[in-house]
Symmetry: C2
Subunit: 208 residues, 2 copies
């Protein structure tokens, strides 16, 4: 791997990065990527614009870091669930549960994740796309394994089931702010998981 | 109802509006609302910026019209399905099918619909929110009626089922561009509807 021009090894440096990213998430989720200025992010952190550029070369790099961190957190969740050594269907169910909980706890970040990636260019765009496909592949592999062991319906192509499951997860961030506002996060996730996995269930033999 | 300041009764006028809205959808879905300029919309229509302001008072009005038309088209679909006089569950299924087909045929418009409404202000914001709630209520009423007639599971609150069904529909616009790219729109919608309604199905009596 190429060495990055500016390394950030110290705890202090990581903490400052974290503050900048949190401020960028807050501004971007309010005004959108195009409506966000580095000046406003710097104001919110309480530093001069120039010193912010010391850590992030551009607004695009900030966006990339937000998306990259989100992908990394998904992978941490996926790895932790994989380490439990469950059956494919149970691993999938546990992963969907934990990932949905994460979305609800990180709604602003998730909104940016799903709406702003089109603003990336070049290598950052390619890297982000690759990580998205890696995430998709992880879910599809679990679904394929669950189909092969007869735990979920195999009449439908695994790619369609994958879209259904990922779509349901991605959508949970909209649940609290709409008409389902009087439920706890746990109730929302539990209903989502129940409905989604009921949809996937293997069908009993046809009656006719 | 209050009379609007500028009426647009002629077919020619409606057609020009349609061209401007189509151009605005194309620019906004590429660059986001904040990144869109009226100048660029005018360039794409092939008219001067000044003449575009003759029909739309602001960029915000253009956005409002895009969202308002989308709501109207949903209501046309809902009314057409209601006129079929089906059972609640069949009406819901037919509505979800037709609305999903519409989303797939109008992906750019749907993306704007779901990501840019935060940019509205004042009365336009309130009107758009009201119409969104009206849409939500329509789906919830069908779900409640289907629950009452025992056609779908009644253990879960109708508001949660509504979020699930609307979430599944809203998400179908992402299906073609991801890993499910080799299926026709019909196959995508048919899989979505099958999985969603399988999830809603009334459960057989518990075994234990």
């Amino acid at each position: 791997m190429k060495k990055k021009p500016s390394e950030r090894p110290s705890a202090e440096g990581r903490n400052r990065d974290g503050n900048v990213i949190a401020a960028a998430i807050s501004v971007m989720s309010e005004k959108g990527y195009s409506g966000t200025s580095i000046q406003e992010v710097a104001d919110r952190v309480g530093v001069l614009k120039g010193s912010l550029y010391h850590y992030f070369s551009s607004k695009e790099e900030l966006l990339f870091r937000i998306l990259d961190e989100s992908h990394s957190e998904s992978m941490v969740i996926a790895d932790a669930v994989a380490a439990l050594g469950l059956d494919p269907i149970d691993e999938l169910l546990e992963y969907v549960t934990r990932q949905s909980v994460w979305y609800l706890a990180n709604v602003e970040r998730a909104n940016i994740f799903f709406t702003e990636s089109r603003n990336l260019t070049g290598e950052r765009k390619a890297l982000t796309k690759d990580r998205g496909l890696q995430f998709e592949r992880h879910v599809r592999d679990l679904i394929t394994a669950a189909q092969e062991s007869g735990q979920i319906r195999s009449q439908l192509d695994a790619r369609l089931l994958t879209r259904f499951v990922i779509g349901a997860m991605n959508n949970v961030r909209f649940w609290p702010s709409r008409s389902a506002g009087s439920f706890s996060d746990e109730q929302l996730v539990s209903a989502l998981v129940e409905l989604t996995f009921n949809g996937l269930e293997a069908q009993p033999a046809a009656h006719d």
